[in-house]
Symmetry: C2
Subunit: 345 residues, 2 copies
Amino acid sequence: MTLQQLFGVPLPIIQAPMAGVQGSALATAVSSAGGLGSLPAAMLGPDALRAELAVMSAQSPRPFNVNFFCHTPPQPDPKREAEWRVTLAPYYAELGIDPETVPAGPGRLPFSHETVDTLEEFRPAVVSFHFGLPSEDLLARVRRWGAKILSSATTVDEACWLESRGVDAVIAQGLEAGGHRGVFLSRDLNTQIGTFALVPQIVRAVKVPVIAAGGIADAKGVRAALELGAAGVQVGTAYLLCPEATTSALHRAALTSEGARMTALTNLFTGRPARGIVNRIMIELGPISPCVPDFPLATSALAPLRAKAESLGRSDFSPLWAGQNTTGCREVPATALTAELVQEV
Amino acid sequence: MTLQQLFGVPLPIIQAPMAGVQGSALATAVSSAGGLGSLPAAMLGPDALRAELAVMSAQSPRPFNVNFFCHTPPQPDPKREAEWRVTLAPYYAELGIDPETVPAGPGRLPFSHETVDTLEEFRPAVVSFHFGLPSEDLLARVRRWGAKILSSATTVDEACWLESRGVDAVIAQGLEAGGHRGVFLSRDLNTQIGTFALVPQIVRAVKVPVIAAGGIADAKGVRAALELGAAGVQVGTAYLLCPEATTSALHRAALTSEGARMTALTNLFTGRPARGIVNRIMIELGPISPCVPDFPLATSALAPLRAKAESLGRSDFSPLWAGQNTTGCREVPATALTAELVQEV
């Protein structure tokens, strides 16, 4: 089954949900162009989520996807939290931030019954998850209005786990992909493999459609992914320069610099490994640090550093999420970019 | 220009040179099937090289490739060497090996004028290098008999460097690939990216043909690589179970086990990062260790551990080179496997 058949959209393209750099505007544009636009809800509170869903539902009758993180909130660990702040102390001092004023906070809320209450009002055609799946009772509520359910697999084991729990398709997220790794069954990053190796192995292992993600930046990449047996593709990084994205000026500048070639998986920003362009804090602390608080607790400690540095025009502490192939990034409307992704030679 | 046009072979397939697990038999079989067979010469002394070249030249008039490492031999560092042996001491004790009997040795010899003397007798159609290129005077001698020259690039910078030195084609070695990374301009492994991201970027950056390597295991993979703009592909891992390969029984068993899904880059075996199936020593010391002697000096310290463990039926200390996609590994003649790589749907 192709992605088009599964979701009732004209093109085999999902625009990857990218929390923090896009909202309903990008998603609506992609859906109107014939792809499946995605609203990233991981960082939206209930009111913001309702507002965004209302905009999308009003603007287009086309199917769209709403994406959630479904992590289990960790127990706060005051000792680790304190150690992390000691590590960051020189930066607080440098930027004149009083560490006592830095709030501890949850960072991101997981998917909950309250979230489903809001979703039920809008009945989005597709709901996708990152970091596995929520509990079966939550999933059952989502299925009730006929939504298709997706989640990301970064290994064959994760793909089989998702299939056994009834997802309608699996997103095979290759190591090239930008942003958070969807990995949820292992903490060993050696399990994480490239798109070219991952997609065929997942295609062999599961019966549900497989959507390829990671490193796909243009029409050639889309065709290559389909050759590997994918039912469609999910493209994120290429959309980051579109005017409909809310990507910051600093992030846009990084994406168009030579430095964009150098990304790394880092846990410094949230506590979970995610791919971004290497910047000052990743260089100075190393991109992966064992003393970072668990996801998403790490988020709050960096927030004031990021805000202050950005106000000074510096992205030293900003997550510059990007995949390993930024050659598809162009400052064109998302409708045009979506059309180009399926352009014939 | 396609790989077929460049080398005068019927198929867009190079069999990857794999030192230690194959010789002329595999290379001849692949060349006779219409691909470009490769003889790995990195671990052959002058006599062995001459013998293998004589066999290949006698058995087939088809073009073949001879592959060399072209590292600069490092200065031995007795202190580091001693530290490394202290790290390994518990293993020497466990296997009853007297560390005093473990020779220090060069491991692998680089490409030299003596090597070219031997090559000149046989004038192979293609000579490929790993870890950059040898000096210009050596290259000039190779060019004199009309040989095409190849080398691997793991980054856009390396591809441009190779093109500027006149290679006839660049092998874009994605992170999925098994065995030694060809990386030579950086020691930062974050520069190493997946095939899906690397191939299109190198295709954009250079004018010479680009050969895709890493994660390509079957006809779908070959077609996908060509869609990405590659002139052809280099396939290694898939050939490891062929009867013409000299892959050990332990290595073959590892390749067909569940464990084959778990590979990592490791420098423990030679001093340079190479991808292999995770085994005991990689788990216990961590796959990348800062105290390993420089390539190829690390090789000798592990050799007796490997030999003893293998004699006991254990691959605890063996390099089990493999890429991230072992689904193409099948116990069929290399001629059949080569034909299947270009099978139409």
